[in-house]
């Protein structure tokens, strides 16, 4: 911003400026493109390699020679990779956990924002207190509890510990606090019960917040590696999530770059598509992740 202000202020005085201005602009864009390349080339190289044959994947030609979709079809059809299962598992877990988080954090957030009950402030402190409990302390007790309940290695264990998060509940509570009370008052005068007010009045008003929550929770669940590793990692590959499966693929077939790179792309694509479609939610998510850290 400052560079440009200074440049344009001087422009009329010095006749030779426009040309050096162009040169400066070219240089500026060159720098931008080099930096962008540092961020994008690793992904492009990964994408290109996934369309190579195995021997060609050890060469450095940027255009595959020959092109092939063998790695992709192989991931899909070769039963030793289990990739369709991993994708199905990850999609299933993400769908269930996003739905549960949407409903429960809205319900709880509404209660903490609007309903009066004894001990509300104390319980809310407990909600915020969960943010202080680190995963490295929880991992052992949760592992032991799940083994004890016979849920270890089952999807139920992962879903249970992720039913609702304090960050999400806090986020919904804050959003409900910004909604004027008039809407509920009107519904109350009409004789609506508390659940009806929540479901018919408050939820529709909170749709923007819920969209942001759904997107960020999907990203979190889809990308999660730590808890699936703890709860499914030692068990049956039938229960692996895509991230676990990709880690497994890489450690087992790590020289088979076309398959490994295709797997990496698959692990990124859903989040990438959502990112490109809903960028502004990710920006607000980065800010709320600050609360979590």
């Amino acid at each position: 911003m400052t560079l440009q202000t200074v440049a344009s202020a001087e422009k009329p005085a010095i006749p030779g400026r426009p040309r050096s201005d162009t040169a400066r602009k070219v240089l500026l864009y060159a720098i931008y493109l080099v930096v962008a390349a540092i961020f994008l080339v690793p992904f492009l190289w990964t994408l290109v390699t996934s369309f190579k044959t195995l021997p060609d994947s050890f060469n450095f030609n940027f255009i595959p020679h020959p092109w092939t979709v063998h790695a992709w079809t192989d991931l899909w059809t070769n039963p030793s990779y289990h990739f369709p299962t991993y994708i199905k598992n990850s999609l299933f877990l993400a769908a269930v956990i996003v739905s549960c988080n949407l409903f429960l954090s809205a319900l709880g957030g509404y209660a903490f924002a609007r309903l009066k009950f004894p001990g509300r402030e104390l319980l809310f402190l407990l909600v915020l207190g969960t943010l202080m409990v680190p995963d490295q302390l929880r991992l052992l007790p949760i592992f032991l509890m799940m083994v004890h309940w016979g849920l270890y290695g089952h999807f139920t264990s992962y879903i249970l510990i992720n039913l609702v998060s304090a960050v999400n509940l806090f986020f919904m509570r804050q959003y409900f606090l910004t909604i004027p009370k008039d809407f509920e008052e009107a519904a109350k005068l009409d004789g609506a019960g508390y659940f009806k007010i929540f479901w018919r009045v408050m939820l529709p008003l909170a749709l923007p917040a819920m969209a942001a929550l759904a997107i960020l929770q999907f990203q979190g669940t889809w990308n999660d590696f730590f808890w699936p590793l703890i709860l499914f990692g030692q068990g049956n590959p039938d229960h692996y999530t895509l991230q676990l499966g990709l880690a497994q693929l890489h450690s087992q077939f790590h020289q088979e770059w076309p398959s490994v790179t295709a797997g990496s792309i698959i692990a990124i694509i859903p989040v990438l598509v959502i990112f490109l479609a809903f960028q502004r939610y990710f920006v607000s998510g980065a800010v709320s992740a600050g609360v979590k850290g």
Partner: protein
Amino acid sequence: MSVMATTTATGAAPRRLSASMASARLREAGWGYGFALIPIAVFGLFFIYPFAYAVYISFYHWGIAGKTSPGTGTFNYAKVLHDPVFHIALRNIAEYTVAVVPLEMALGLSLALMINQKIHGRNFFRSAFYFPAIASSVAITTIILFIFAQDGLFNHIFGLNKDWFGQASTVGWGIVGMNAWTTSGTVMIFYLASLQAIPDDVYEAAALDNTGAWRTFWKITFPLLRPAHFFCLVVFGIGALKLFDQAFLVAGGASGSPNYSTMYPIIYIYNAAFGTFDFGLAAAAGVIYFVLIFGLTVVQRLTVGRQEVA
């Protein structure tokens, strides 16, 4: 509310009305508890209780078959504190954090300054810089291991022949570089928000004084970003102390190989739990590391946080 309105309107039989008011309150409280019940149960069962449970386990000899000694004691704590591997883990995470946080912040601030210019394709560049931050840790680590393999693209471009992630002397720096690369996009978002909050007239004054761009940045922009610097230092500093995924994936497990160079505290805890099945030791290490991070946070809040508010 509607109940209160009736009270003032009729005025008669106050006892009955206050009773109905109480029952309305009771009903509201009942629904409140009902709505909050499942979240509270989840937080109690999977956060608060495990916290207490971990502390409990840490005072026992506890193996895969459960409690193996009836007596309690601080022997697990003594063992962790005297374990040379735990010392290595602490030194590694200290080095990692001291290296990665300033690097992330410098990169993130540079990217934010780039995006804050009036240029064509701003949205494209912003998305490009933020892209690694949204991808999963597994995908990122896999891709970086591929690019930085001994026969990989990086060595090919620069004419080198190093096994970056395979030897103890470089693997720590490799993880620093990888995570600085992925996290700088997130840091950029924070700095961008702060940069856009700086009013334009500050810069206009500098332009009138004919202050150069470089001087303007160090004398005006950088000091004005103080709150953002402190915020990033705290948030990304604590984030760095929680390093796990990348170290686990680079080493292909929690052994810390090669030669304990990828041994970090959470890797140590994981390995004590699922590598050697010494649950008491793992719990004690978890408690010690929690106290350490908690202490650091408190110190940070008291020193850095105060200055920021003032």
